[in-house]
Amino acid sequence: MHMADALVSAPVALSAGAVALGLVIVACKKVSEIKRTDIVPLMGVLGAFVFAAQMINFTIPGTGSSGHIIGGVLLSAILGPWAAFITLCAVLIDQCLIFADGGLLALGCNVINMAAVSCLLAYPLVFRPIAGKSPSVVSVSVASVAASVVGLLCGALLVTAETELSGITALPIGQFLMFMLPIHLLIGIGEGLATAAVLVYVLKVRPALFYDPDRISGNESGKLSKSTKRVLWTFAAIALVFAIGFTWIASSNPDGLEWSIMRITGDTELAPASDPPTAFLPGYESALSGIIGGVIMLCLIWVFSVLIFRKRRSSKVS
């Protein structure tokens, strides 16, 4: 589910980054309004917990394969939506910077697809209404599966939209969705069952760990305050300006435009009618020379870098 930088274009990644940053700022504001001081270490340790828990796999019966949790709904059930969102953002940044899991520029996409969707959409709109104020084994189980499925499907929809908007895949959007949604439906059910199993265990041994908005002062669970709404609208407007601006810049790039026209209309508008179907396209005559030249130069530069930098380091050490 982690999107790599390769699968997004710069305008899409930067727009998603702006929206994600806006959400993070709002979330930080909401969390700073919480009066509990123990929320800070609890968030930090649970972030590390999610990371460690993701590395313990359970066996999926009958398939021979294994799965693990993603943790958005689980964290929200313990910490509440906004604190869980920040914690999951921190986990995603850790994964990106320490383990190179997911791209740096695609971080905004990953924050929206995984953290925002599960914590700020699936938890408040699906989990809490089903689980209710006094959760039972049945209500927590149903809520976990429903929220995880909704979160994973919305995340898959967003991944599809971001990849299609980036113009990366030639797969038509309908077929892309037919590929993504069934897989993520299954993953969502697995995630839901795993989340339910852990939450039922917590409900039995430590029910006080469950998030209860009434215990928390401040308006953590209430409606958005006016100032928060203003911040959200400001960031939505900035994101829109980013999106329009970068799309305009990208579309004014002749290479990108030429490629888009070729993708949409075939080669009839770009290549002379007399050209055979496998003839060079205009602008691509030097493909082989470019590749060979590039590889030769890369090798030379590598040798040069090794000689210069290693020599300099060894002289520093001595």
């Binding site: 930088d5 930090g44 265990y201 490629w259 396209l281 691509y284 030097s286 493909a287 082989l288």
Partner: protein
């Protein structure tokens, strides 16, 4: 289980890294600039991406990681990228280029481009880790006014990652010792294991909180400024690398090597 051990090793290795004198702010800016520029290369132009590989090749040697090691680490990104990119050769049969006498469809060209984009961006990200180190990157995030709560979370989760990974490892070893050779975890057993880890984590958080209160914690965690403000060298480095990357992106190298066409 190898995953947990590998993560612990990676974490320890990452904690030790920071092999350059360049300020982390400059390293983050340069990396972001490079990835943005790589992503502006159209997927119909893989030869330009070959040129863009000059950055990871040089920087890997500069930060002392070695390009071969960075390249091998970056191969990790391939499965997901291939999963999405492989549809391009299947659906896009438009004519692309001709290498010698062999025609290559536009779908295959974009597929190669996607893989190259994945490798290059991943390599630059790994190099950032070697250049700056996680703790210094966190300090630099605070310097560019990323909210304190998020930076605190990054530092705390980083601090407790190794602790909880070790705890998960010991729990898993205990299970293995009593598993009569079976290493598989059913969902119910897995839930008990992970649930127990969650309860232990919460307990750990509350004892950390008590320790913090004993040291005067008032809800705001003071962050130590690691004194990594960009110096003259770092600014010069950032400008030089950004200009070089821009030249790699837009200089007409293909025409310079036209004599190689056959």
């Amino acid at each position: 289980m190898a995953k947990l051990e590998k993560a612990l090793l990676a974490l320890n290795e990452f904690g030790r890294s920071r092999k350059s004198d360049i300020s982390p702010v400059a390293a983050v800016i340069v990396t972001l600039f490079y990835i943005v520029i790589v992503l502006t290369v159209p997927v119909s132009d893989p030869q330009r991406l070959v040129w863009m590989a000059v950055y990871p090749v040089m920087m890997a040697e500069y930060c002392g990681a070695g390009f071969v090691r960075i390249f091998i680490k970056s191969l990790w990104v391939l499965p997901f990228v291939i999963l999405i990119g492989i549809f391009n050769p299947i659906f896009d049969h438009n004519p692309g280029i001709k290498i010698a006498e062999v025609s290559v469809s536009a779908g295959w060209i974009s597929f190669v481009s996607i893989i190259l984009r994945g490798l290059l961006s991943m390599q630059s990200l790994i190099i950032l880790g070697y250049m700056a180190g996680f703790l210094d990157i966190c300090s630099s995030l605070r310097r560019i006014h990323i909210p304190r709560i998020l930076v605190t979370q990054l530092l705390l989760s980083y601090r407790y990652l190794s602790v909880l990974i070790e705890e998960a490892l010991s729990m898993r070893r205990a299970r293995q010792a009593r598993g009569f050779g079976s290493d598989k975890l059913s969902l119910s057993l897995w839930a008990a294991l992970v649930g127990q880890l969650l309860v232990r984590s919460a307990d750990r958080a509350s004892s950390i909180h008590r320790a913090m209160l004993a040291r005067g914690f008032d809800g705001v965690l003071p962050l130590v400024d690691r004194g990594q403000s960009p110096d003259k060298n770092s600014i010069l480095f950032a400008i030089t690398v950004c200009v070089a990357v821009a030249l790699l992106r837009w200089l007409p190298f293909d025409s310079w090597f036209g004599f190689l066409n056959f």
